[in-house]
Amino acid sequence: MNLCDLKINDSAIIKNINLKGIKKRRLNDLGFINGEEVEKVFTSIFKNPCCYKIKNTFIALRNEDACSIEVEYE
């Protein structure tokens, strides 16, 4: 399952980030790291991007990018 498939208010654990280079590093810096818990909190008015809670901060990501992040329910 990927992060973009998560329903609102659901949380899951990050398994793998299928991105390379700068994008991956950026996500890592914001707390998107294997093993971290992430929750989808709300979507924007046009449903893309969506906002996720990670390390207790709200981070917005586009769905295209969220689809490259594998997650798994606890």
Partner: protein
Amino acid sequence: MNNILLCGNPNVGKSSIFNALTGSNEHTGNWTGKTVELAKSKIKGTKYTLIDLPGIYSLSSLSDEEIVARDTLLFSEYQKIIYVIDSSNLERNLNLLIQILQINPNVIICLNMIDEMEDKGICIDEEMLSDIFGVEVIKCSTKNNIGLDKLKNSLESELKSNFKFLYSLDLENKIKDIYELVDEKFQNKFIALSLLEKNNSIVKTIKDKFNIDIVDKKISNYLMNVNEEEISNDIVTKINSLSKEINGRVFKREKNKKISFLDKLFTNKITCILLMLFIIFGIFLITIVLANYPSDLLSNIFVKIENILYNLCLNYNVPKINYEPLLFGVYRVVTFIISVMFPPLVIFFFLFTYAEETGILPRIAFNFDKVCNIAGCHGKQALTVCSGFGCNACAIVGCRIIDNKRDKLLAILTNSFIPCNGRFPMLIAIISMFFVNSSNKLLVSFYLTLFVLFAILISFLTSYILSKTILKGKNGFFVLELPDYKKVKLSKILKISFIYKSLSILKKAILVSIPAGIVIYIISNVFIGGSSLYVILSNFLNPFAKLIGLDGVILLSFILGLPANEIVLPLIIMGYLNSNNVPILSDYTSMKGLLIQNGWTITTAISTILFSIMHYPCATTLSTIKSEVGYKWMIYSFIIPLITGIVFLFILNLFI
């Protein structure tokens, strides 16, 4: 050597601390990436100079701000680092701290925003934190003025962090290998790790700074067998687990973060759009209503002063040639700017700063990223558009928050469509004269909102066209933190918006308008073959101007108004009067009479407003664009809105 660096994640309050310690006026705001360049100033009552770095999440993601911060940390001379932490976000803030400690152990930790901790149910054991890192930890709140003196005193402390940790055995060995291969002055854990991660930007910095190619034959051979993805993973995992562990020991949270009521409104399509329209409309309405009183008062005072000065000149037999240019040229332009432009400027900036400090701006970028994408540009362009309402030149500097070069150019080239503060008073005046009865402030604000929405639309349409022509390419990566909403302290906002923003803009406007006033006086008083230079120029422009719904005088005023949009309207009025000087413009009725006498119709009014939205950027903005992205793009930024305006008005005037 007495430099102190202020470092930390974005939006943790670095610039607020900078302002508090140095008494200067860096812009703050509740969104990530407010500061995009280095600010320097002396700390009051000490020998130290404080340097405000842009906020960054790490030292290796390679955006422009991060490179600036990294290079300053690595290669500049400084005494200490003040590492600012947002207390409610300790865990993520620790990541960067650990990276920075690998570069320099001279750190003071500043736990900022402690005023919010109670509300959020947070508790931090600062003694334990201090023990873990072996540095001073100071609790601070710039909002309530807590801890700032203590922070100042701690600058003398000699404490150096003794925090040590090891990566995996394999990675530590690789670091040692690199140490063997590089010059002594680069034997630094951070540089070694960057090389192993094949981070080219650090290689480039070293080449630029020291003229040394650090990746010589030996190193590049060594790096051939290194898998940089694995190394990155190793580093990230290690630092993350360290900060997690430390966070677990010192940080307690009782309440979990909830979605706030405002975010519920902002994420529903209908309430969001209503709320935004309401905010734009409300800001204009309040500005127009409130600005009226001080405007009237000021212009009455200035007229009285002018009469006194005039009489003085007559009494003392000052020759006409001496006092006329000063009194009727310079004095009237300057007082016009003060009385008509300044009150709305102050009120607008106050409301604008308020909106900025609460944290609404990133929500706008979040909600409109999709729309921006359709227009071919980056979601963060919504942020720079918002800044454009304040000042286009500031917005251009702000475009640095967009990493991708192409996206940044799109934002820069289309920003001048957004009417800045210097243009609003003219828009308000024309709307009040030609569209409605000026006492109906609601309708004035309504029309103004319509024109502003039009400006935004044109700005994005142009982005769309550019993204399909000269700036083809793919949209950059979008990640954006949505910070918590902040309760704003009114006195602070008042101070920032009035003293720092409004007064400095006023100063600039006056400084340009003095020479402009003189130039205007001269060209209206140099006669060639019976008519003044002014008349000759405006007659020359007239046939062309008529094609786009203007006239020679209006067009000439826009040309002479290049230094500052604020002076366009006084120039127009002056052009119509034969008295060769700027008239007293205290009320709209007399102004309207004059304009109608000179052939203004509703079409002229619409065309003038539209041309004010779509012409070249002011001189300050142009020079900012030049220093940000170079000559070539400055020329584009001049031509694009100008051609758009001319074509648009030409077509419009064919039909009406």
